[in-house]
Symmetry: C2
């Protein structure tokens, strides 16, 4: 279909038109589809995005301590956020995927388009330099940056694990104290967290039951995420 | 002592002279010493450094896959490397530390000067922009970048844990298989790794004894590092 640019909507959404369509195509190519895939661009894009967001938060919140800046940045650059932005730009429809990945859905697919979003940012940086990439990123992230509240309480690991499992319609985790050592005010708790689709319980250790549970929940989350 | 610039050696080493000495001073101020400390600058410097190194590796190794770029970048920006560079520039002697931190040595001190090194990079970026920061970073890191070998085998977690403990004159870890489930070719191993100065063993799970041990060693390393 001559004359029709498949990337028109993407260009409009991100506010940038690639001169080198080949570069954009590479950013949209998963490693399952071709040798010239997007992983190196993703590596670059991840770093550039992190830097642009860090600078923006540094300037926008001059009184906010480092810990809160770090937490806000994580929220902005995490996979879920990238996948949302990718969906808004129809990245999924434009991707080149291998036959195996074409059928993948859910979490796996989200992670593929999130990576492609980073690769697109890397590609813009290569083609147009930092200043223009900054414009694109700040435009894309604008509403999310404006919504940030530095004092929002971060969700703890147990809450995040529960939400993760619920969103995937999996049973809730079971926590069990398996060992208490030390006496009175110097006790150490060992807790197991059993998650339905993990073979073996995750262990957490802490000076209180709550702390040990949070640690175990954190490990469970990490294990599930890397699955 | 009028006329003597305490920052002369630092400026020479990093190849950059600050216009705003107050900014440099802030980069050299630990949170234990004053309200105007270096943590926000460190947040910024970490991101800028990561980006500059990512771009350099991307350009220098056009054929190297993302996994190896990521590993090389970690080597270049890890705390040990930053602390070495800080030592070469006498950062330790120039720092403003609170009374408690003044006495600290070893690992703790290394981590403080490594953070200051990142803060200095953040401060240069604020004062002079990305291009000049790039020059400073690539000059400082030059010999380390030239020595990189993308095909060098990364050390596994058990080796790293052993080296970590030996360098601190601590006893070696003890590994123990505590559970094997499944049959024949679908077994799951649960291994405990006991480290002398940790209260409770770290648990690893894997489809082989070796994999479970590596996971447990990794957790032990993380726990020790965050101690």
């Amino acid at each position: 279909m001559q004359g029709i640019n498949p990337y028109a909507k993407l260009s409009r959404q991100i506010g940038y038109e690639f001169k080198d369509t080949g570069l954009l195509k590479q950013a949209l190519t998963h490693r399952s589809a071709a040798k010239q895939h997007n992983e190196r661009l993703e590596f670059l894009g991840d770093a550039v995005l992190g830097m642009i967001i860090a600078r923006e938060l540094y300037d926008k919140f001059p009184q906010v301590p480092e810990g809160k800046l770090t937490r806000m940045r994580s929220t902005l650059v995490k996979g879920d956020t990238l996948a949302e932005l990718a969906r808004e730009s129809d990245v999924g429809e434009l991707m080149n995927l291998g036959p195996g990945e074409l059928k993948s859905g859910g979490h796996r697919r989200s992670s593929i388009i999130a990576d492609a979003m980073e690769a697109i940012i890397g590609a813009i940086y290569l083609e147009a330099g930092l200043e223009q990439t900054e414009q694109v990123v700040l435009h894309l992230w604008k509403s999310r940056i404006n919504k940030l509240d530095p004092n929002e309480h971060p969700k703890d690991a147990k809450t995040r694990l529960q939400e993760f499992l619920q969103s995937r319609k999996l049973p809730l985790p079971v926590y069990e104290v398996v060992k208490i050592t030390g006496k009175d005010h110097a006790q150490t708790f060992v807790v197991h967290c059993q998650v339905a689709n993990l073979n073996s319980p995750l262990e957490g250790v802490g000076s209180s039951r709550r702390k040990a549970e949070q640690q175990a929940a954190n490990l469970a989350l990490e294990t599930l995420m890397n699955d």
